[in-house]
Symmetry: C2
Subunit: 345 residues, 2 copies
């Protein structure tokens, strides 16, 4: 079976098999990925992140169900979902949530769900997630929702894959100082206060609004929910001056409240990105990040393969006995491998 | 001023300056780090991690205050604190918490506090944190407490620096399925249920105990709180058979409840590590991780410096237009640099 052709033809079995091969980094997976790469770049990649307990998974479920309904303007959209759980490095913590989710959306041919737990070492997860997203993009899904737990560096690496990043908060998740981080707000394109039926929703929203006003300077022209807004007494806005102010959307994922408005905000963000050229810039930056990760893995693997037998273990021994410093150990290993570069022209 | 000598002599100003130089990766910082490295390996490195809202920072504060009291068996211990906040990649989110903390422990010469936000790219934070911890170790602090928010891959990379890892939970932080991850439990040496005066503490502790019994197989011999425990009807334990079952400690950081018992559990874990040889194994593994990170950064930096002008940008251009795949881009760049390794002997 030609895996890549199967994926392009919409064969779900071929898709599932390709994703497994890609995630495990097999030769078959790499070859499929290369064949599929020219077909990528069409899906709207949407990252969804937020702390445990904010109800992200239910929100992603509801969004997917919403996209599967016919719209006034056209057909239902198809949705790929990638659930990444970096808190489960050893056991498959993502699996339980996945089963619950599967039950809900099972049998819909327009939805494909894939769960990933952390694999391998540093950079491995972001790189594997990117590959999975590429396959779903090439498979023709209109939207790919990338869901990730928490707010650490690895989650930020993952949401960087997305065109649109949604940060989910919920009322009553502990100290506001800790829960609502300026750093996280700066990566947010759309903010969601989920569980908006709980007490404290006003406080959470006020805290978000306050933090937003710190991280986003007052703008003269605002593309509000995808529409350009004139500021009274000012000339009409020029497209180069457009600024996106992240909207704050209240939702109740359990009953679907606010989901259509959230989907609108996501669609409007895409309009904004395309109108300002930011779509192309993010795309370039995304591929560059991808390239850097792959380059790093390749260089380290090649280097290791060319070390004399025992050299690495000896360096660790000398490190443990404090005879050499980590910098000296690296110098010694690099000189052992005796890398010669071409002269830069 | 010789920075490294100042650090070894206990000069706080030299220490602060060294930490800044090290964190910023200057030549002066690297040279100080090399001079200090032979003096490392003495401190007990304790990692403290947990979700937002669990009250980690207050807990770390209380622990530090406890260590500063004279004990029955000797002098107060000196404490270095490294607070790492990977959720603040752009702005200094760690700073506010730091100021609150500083007020509490200010003026005590036996405590040194350093906050770090995420710097640089992939692997940068773990590597920078490791360097900061090495400096505090060389400076002679008896314990170095490494506090980090959340539970993503980057936090796991950080707690891997530690001899003893404490995972902090609190009642009522959302779904138990999400909050108490098997993956996180597997890295925990000591579990803390903080805010134990809140309702729901029994549920949290029960959920932890249930997850623990899954991740830790029943053991014949248990070193419970540092003491070897005989199982009735079994021969007395042999030290090679010792197993550490992570104790669960309730605390109320605000009034200090449970803090002496937590400090005991930390001390007992050290006794266990030393009795079983695990201290040396962790130490070796820690230094090896450190070496891997540094090696990776060195290889990538060297490679970039040897690329012909424009080659990297051209590869990104071809990637964006989907003319080549990421794998092909890496191949092309690597062949451009034409790396020659020595034959492995």
């Amino acid at each position: 079976m030609n895996l890549a052709q199967g994926v392009l033809d919409g064969d779900r079995l071929a898709l599932a098999r390709t994703l497994s091969q890609v995630e495990n980094g097999t030769a078959e997976g790499k070859s499929a990925l290369s064949a599929l790469f020219p077909h990528t770049g069409k899906a709207h990649l949407v990252g969804i992140t937020g702390a445990s307990g904010t109800g992200k998974s239910s929100l992603v479920n509801q969004l997917a169900r919403y996209y599967r309904q016919p719209t006034q303007t056209g057909k239902p959209r198809t949705v790929g979902i990638v659930a990444v759980d970096p808190t489960s490095p050893f056991t498959g913590g993502a699996i339980l949530g996945d089963r619950i989710r599967m039950r809900d959306l099972a049998g819909d041919p327009g939805v494909f769900i894939r769960s990933m737990a952390t694999r391998g070492s540093l950079g491995g997860l972001a790189s594997a997630t990117s590959a999975i997203v590429q396959v779903l993009d090439a498979a023709g899904y209109d939207l790919v929702l990338i869901e990730t737990v928490g707010a650490g560096q690895s989650e930020i690496d993952i949401v960087r894959l997305a065109h649109t990043t949604i940060v989910v908060e919920a009322p009553g998740l502990g100290d506001d100082i800790q829960a609502i981080k300026a750093g996280i707000l700066e990566i947010a394109d759309v903010l969601v206060v989920n569980k908006a039926d709980l007490p404290g929703v006003e406080n959470t929203e006020r805290a978000l609004r306050g933090s937003l006003s710190l991280s986003h300077p007052p703008a003269q022209r605002v593309l509000h929910h995808g529409r350009m807004v004139n500021v009274p007494g000012q000339p009409p806005p020029d497209k180069d001056e457009l600024v996106w102010i992240p909207p704050i959307q209240r939702t109740v994922a359990l009953d679907g409240t606010g989901i259509p408005e959230l989907a609108d905000a996501i669609a409007n963000h895409k309009i904004y990105l395309e109108a300002t050229g930011a779509w192309q810039r993010r795309e370039r930056w995304r591929l560059q990040t991808e390239l850097d990760l792959l380059l790093q893995n390749t260089l380290v693997t090649d280097f290791r393969a060319h070390l004399p037998a025992g050299a690495y273990e000896q360096a660790v021994d000398e490190l443990v006995s404090r005879r050499i410093t980590p910098f000296q150990a690296v110098e010694s290993l690099v000189s052992n491998a005796d890398i010669k570069y071409k002269e830069a022209t």
